[in-house]
């Protein structure tokens, strides 16, 4: 088992081992079956906590605190060696669980990378430097002469981020910009002729990129091994545990519409008014108003309607009719019908696409002419208030909702809206637009004795 150890001296001068593993190889340890499951569940709580934090739009400093707290609460062990073992074992178990589909891999990769990033940042700078060399990153520090020549620009970049170029930061690394996409993305580095000048404190990015790329490849390999040998070999022992671990934490995906099996076109207008969450109401209104929607909006609303129970033929008729003032029937059949059939899994690689969850919708940023994404996140205060009032939310409830929005708790804001509109509580909280719809229909049905 390859594990890097860096020694940290405590105040009492005892050497304390601090370890951040890279999970290069599966541990050749014997693990009890119960530990297999429990370790994984503890780690899953950490990852799920991270996922919630990201969804709520927490800032990096807040995430760092969150990660520290989550780790302490779920993964700490008085004996360092035991803690390392649990860390490594739980990671490898979850690899088995989350290697099996593209979407699971994406989620796991994202959460593990975030976890690693913040754990790395929490390390001391000597530990970080040591970990960097462990990764064998071949980037040289910038020479003094070169530093002098770009010092002004480096200072400008630091100040643009509200920081100052302290003497300690005089160590910069020059790396090809391709190696640090997230720093480039946020304009947090000076780039010149293809090279990025990375400050010591940004070095995290370099290491994290390596980590991410490694785990990504490892997941694909694990999936291969799982499907070819492990799943069958372990069908009486590990496989049932692995499969249970996955579904217990990822909720229903709403790809198969449930109790309110079918909705026909004539019902849509009505249920849109009563049971659509704000994001879908907005898209729906815009389609009616503009007789058009850009791609992002068509996907978000189209898949939602599929989850609500709109059959393919009805979906085609719906979009065709709405677009009719701007798009001739012929042009519709040529340019739009294919994509709708694609969403229902009738074309191309025949994937049956699942409606987007709140997490996914919140994470997109609508561009010019777009109306998708989460309105609680993107609408201006004025527009959001007006929209809530149109939905029938009382002015006091609007204040509560806006309070959640200001604290970037977008899903809580949507939950409060639900409660205000329906006059009943939603304890589970909203995390999927189709869940909002189903819960809404349930409430209305119990009130009226029929589907509204």
């Amino acid at each position: 088992m390859e594990v890097f150890q860096s020694h940290r001296k405590s105040s009492s001068n005892n050497v304390i081992v601090s370890i951040l593993p890279f999970y290069r190889s599966a541990p050749p340890l014997e693990v009890r079956l119960e530990d297999f499951e429990f370790f994984a569940m503890d780690r899953l709580r950490v990852l799920k906590g991270i996922s919630d934090g990201l969804c709520r739009g927490k800032k990096p400093e807040e995430m760092e605190k969150l990660v520290e707290d989550l780790w302490k609460a779920n993964m700490r062990h008085p004996q360092a060696v035991e803690e390392v073992n649990k860390d490594i074992i739980s990671h490898f178990v979850l690899r088995l669980v989350y290697c099996r589909t593209e979407e699971l891999r994406k989620w796991f990769l994202s959460m593990e990378t975030t976890l690693f990033r913040h754990r790395f940042r929490l390390e001391s700078s000597e530990a970080q430097r040591a970990l960097m060399s462990e990764f064998k990153l071949p980037y040289k520090a910038v020479s003094n002469a070169e530093f002098e020549s770009v010092k002004d620009k480096l200072s400008q970049v630091a100040r643009s981020m509200g920081q100052n170029l302290a003497a300690a930061d005089a160590i910069f690394y020059k790396v090809p910009f391709e190696e640090v996409p997230d720093l480039v993305s946020g304009r947090r580095v000076f780039i010149h002729k293809g090279h990025a000048y990375v400050a010591m404190n940004q070095v995290v990015s370099l290491v994290v990129t390596q980590f991410r790329s490694y785990i990504s490849k490892a997941l694909i390999l694990t999936n291969r091994k799982w499907t070819s040998t492990i799943r069958e070999q372990e069908k009486d022992r590990l496989t049932p545990i692995v499969e249970a671990l996955c579904t217990s934490y990822l909720g229903p995906d709403y790809s198969q519409p449930q109790e309110f099996g079918e909705i026909s076109i004539k019902d849509i207008d009505q249920v849109a008014k009563t049971s659509f969450p704000l994001c879908m109401r907005h898209l729906f209104e815009k389609v009616k108003e503009d007789h058009h929607l850009k791609h992002g909006g068509r996907m978000q609303l189209g898949l939602f309607l599929k989850g609500v129970g709109l059959k393919l033929d009805d979906a085609l008729a719906f979009w065709k009719a709405e677009f009719a003032p701007k798009v001739s029937a012929e042009r519709f059949d040529k340019e739009y019908a294919y994509n709708i059939r694609h969403n229902y899994g009738r074309e191309g690689k025949r994937t049956d696409y699942t409606p987007y969850s709140c997490q996914k919708i919140i994470s997109v940023t609508p561009g010019i002419g777009d109306h998708h994404g989460c309105p609680y996140r993107h609408f201006s205060e004025e527009n959001l208030r007006a929209a809530l009032v149109r939905m029938g939310v009382s002015s006091r409830a609007v204040e509560d909702v806006m309070d959640k929005v200001h604290n970037r708790h977008y899903q809580l804001a949507c939950t409060l809206t639900f409660e205000a509109v329906h006059g009943s509580s939603c304890d589970a909280g909203i995390n999927h637009p189709n869940q909002y719809f189903i819960d809404s229909q349930r409430v209305l049905q119990s009130k009226n004795g029929s589907v509204a």
Partner: protein, 452 residues
Amino acid sequence: MTKEEADNGRDDMVIDVPGQANAVPDGFNANYLRIYYGKLFPHADMFKWMSYGNDGKHPGCDKSYFGRREFSFTLENDIYIRFQSFNSVTELENSIKEKCPFKIDIGPVYSVDPAKRHAYAQSGDNVFTPVERELVFDIDISDYDDVRYCCTGADVCLECWPLMTIAIKVIDTSLRDDFGFNHILWVYSGRRGVHCWVCDGKARRLTNEQRAAIADYFHVYKGNENSQKKISLPGLVLHPFLARSYTEVLKGFFEAKLLPNQNLLASEERYEKILEMIPDASVASELRRRWQENKRASMSKDDINIVRWEQLKSILQSGKQKMQGLRRCVEEIVFSYTYPRLDMEVSRHMNHLLKAPFCVHPKTGRVCVPIDPNNCDEFDPTTVPTLSQLLEELNRGGLRQDAENEWDRTSLGESVAFFRTSFVQPLLKSCKEGIENSYNAKLQQSKNDLSW
């Protein structure tokens, strides 16, 4: 030119129009296109470009390279065919001449010939997946409708076209100075925008994540009609890229051209839009009061927009302003009106198809000609050659025995010559050097391996 390119496929058809012998009525149809593809479309140069030096002459060439590139054709009647691939310039040319596509799109280079894609799995080792693709950008003037009053939607004129010119300047400078790219082709999209193709090897091999990072680096204008604040420039100073764009391009253009030409401060409706961007209500009110009292430009002979802009700047930059949000307010206003608005989705994914240069736009009849970024101020979209104009020019020249290089006797000649000498030739020179170098390196490597 290889032997394959010799036969041009003589097409002796000349259009007969009653009345004027040479006149060709405006229009866009298959007959016109047939002649265009027969005599004017630069098949051989497009092939040379797309081959990136892999013409089979050097032993280090990858003979399969051109054949793995996807093209897509939109035929008459909106029939759309994807995954077209060709193994030689002759195949490419013959297919275009035969099918007469109304639009040609260029996709990525895949791991295998797209014609064979069904034989490959979706995942695992032998996949059908993009392996190279130029870094591309798409800028459309209809995304600027909220800041131009002379035209809307698909229209464009010489008053608002300069918005595209400055977008080219900002992005082109950054691609070269910051990212170190050299082989950049800018193309007029035929109606209302521009496309950019970055063709360096490093650019073609960028991953989706790296493309997204570059797109995000350029992403400053955020939001749409639903959100209030579209440009936010926090921080004490601007990042060097933004600062350079502002001082070298945007500020000058805004103050000297856009402000007076679009009368941005002349009327209440228009100046309110700018006042809305000032976070301090008292400052906004003060300006509003002054401008309402002073409806006619009184003493000064200067343009009223410029006078008012100076007043705005002097209040906001007076140094008396301590409020946080006001520091960069002037820059934010200039950026909102002038900073490039890119279509992010186009740049992010390797598999995005983009229209090929030298296509003809169906709605305007204009050819998608290259634009010289060093002379982009001179580019005039209203004088770009149209299909009918070119055919008329051909007619005037009469029939020629030598059917090569017909474009030289038309207005297209200049564009093809520019394409060749400023883009294709330097690109090919660099590619061939690259092919030779890596071939020699491999030879050296195998020699080293063999040595004892």
